[in-house]
Amino acid sequence: MVSMAQLRDLDVAAWQTGADEWRARYTNLLSTVTYLHEDLDPRVSAGAWTGPAGDAAIAHLRGVINGLEIDALECQAVSLVLSGLTHAFRISQNSLRSALGAARLDDFPVTGDGLVQLPDTSMARHDPEFAESARVQRDRLQKLVQQAVDAATLADRKAYEMLDHLSQQTFQTDAGAALNEDVGMASKLEVDLIAATVPDGGPDEVAAWWAGLPPEDQQTLRMAVPWALENLPGIPADVRSALHGGGSYDRAAASKWAIDHWNDAEASYDIFENNCTNFVSATLAEAGMKEQGGYWSDDSWWEGPQTGNRWLDLHGGSRSASWAQAFQSYEFWRAHGTEVTAEQAQPGDIIYWETPAADGGPGDVHHSAMVTAVVDGDLRYTQHNIDQVNASLGARAPIGALGGGHDVVHVVRPESDG
């Protein structure tokens, strides 16, 4: 458990330094892996050393590369956990310091273990009306202090469990598992740790908590966990409105729905072998995006009633191509929205992957997912088949490039009602 004094005096910058250090290990080790994979391996395997010894040398070299790639990925996973913990500690500490500052301002003493006491004044002792209002204010301050300490304790416990798991992964031999499981879980946890700082108190406590946060923390929360704020009584109306976005499409709700349904088994949208774009469309529809056009329109986005007959639902023209196919979805939403850069991405946007054509012509847009969070500028996406939730684009893209992939990423902001 994190105590009030520990949270108040915590050196948050040191945690950021720790996160940066593990990230630097990831970057440097990945650079080594890239060099060995793209420069050294081809030199040896291109015929410079053949025969049994040469074959053994190449096999050994590839084993070393695999081991170093796992090291890099696990360092990235630790970095993501520490980054989430840094955010959680900073937000909790700022909440606590804000509450302690308010207590000091109004002469409410706070004990070393975090108990807020009534002001020791003659008015508090002799004026019943003042004493009652002081008790109400004391209770509110106590809740704010306790919320901050509880949030830090929860973040510490979750991070402890994940770091304990990662510390035991030194026998990992599968780079795919290191990426999809350990980095994937750490990326999800980073967002969860930020979400854990959002209190569930009454509107007054939430309003005081939000107002006490520096703008940087407010921005972190807006971009990482908009769904946790949008319907929280006490969050200012203008903030909630911005998180929703204009029109019928609720951007924060889209993030929430995708996060809640990323790994649904036998979901209604599991029609095809790969349902990535079906999942994106289901998310948009669940978040209030209205269908556009119709069966006879070339420029449409819609899904008709499903018959339950698999063959008919697959082939019966029961949805527009833009509903279930990545390239057509990209073309449709680019025309009915705005393509933005990855740096401008926000939760509720759609992300597409395109494999460029060798001849410079139109590439193959082959995959799509929902942008469900942005943390420190790193885009987090959620997808179905292959299931991932709040996966880090920054962590995964360099690994894809290592395997020879050079996909281009497109981010599109769909607009409500076309």
Binding site: A14, G18, R25, T50, D71, S167, T170
Partner: protein, 103 residues
């Protein structure tokens, strides 16, 4: 099985690179000063305690991979030397000598 063939210069340079790379990887394993400072300053926080354990485990593994990479580089160098000696011996035999000149 491939036919035995080696380009000694290429393999020698690859060995050099592996030795250098192994040293750089081992240096990565040692450079966790910020993490050490963090865990020392927050010894009462559970995640800091586990982070220290994590750091020691991964530091050992990364250091092990650095050593393995350097040893592989040494193996490349050794193979080049053995190849050149065997090549010279074969050349001498083909010229009718029973020993490599100078041995």
């Amino acid at each position: 099985m491939s036919d035995l063939h080696m380009e000694p210069d290429v393999v020698e340079r690859c060995g050099d690179r592996l030795t250098e790379t192994g040293g750089a990887v081992a240096a990565q394993a040692r450079s966790f000063t910020g993490t050490r400072a963090l865990t020392a300053a927050h010894s009462g926080i559970s995640s800091a305690l586990t982070l220290d354990f994590c750091r020691r485990n991964w530091s050992d593994r990364i250091d092990g991979h650095g050593t393995e990479t350097s040893v592989l580089g040494d193996g490349f160098h050794y193979a080049v030397r053995e190849y050149l000696v065997a090549d010279a011996r074969h050349a001498a035999l083909l010229r009718g000598h029973s020993r490599v000149p100078g041995e």
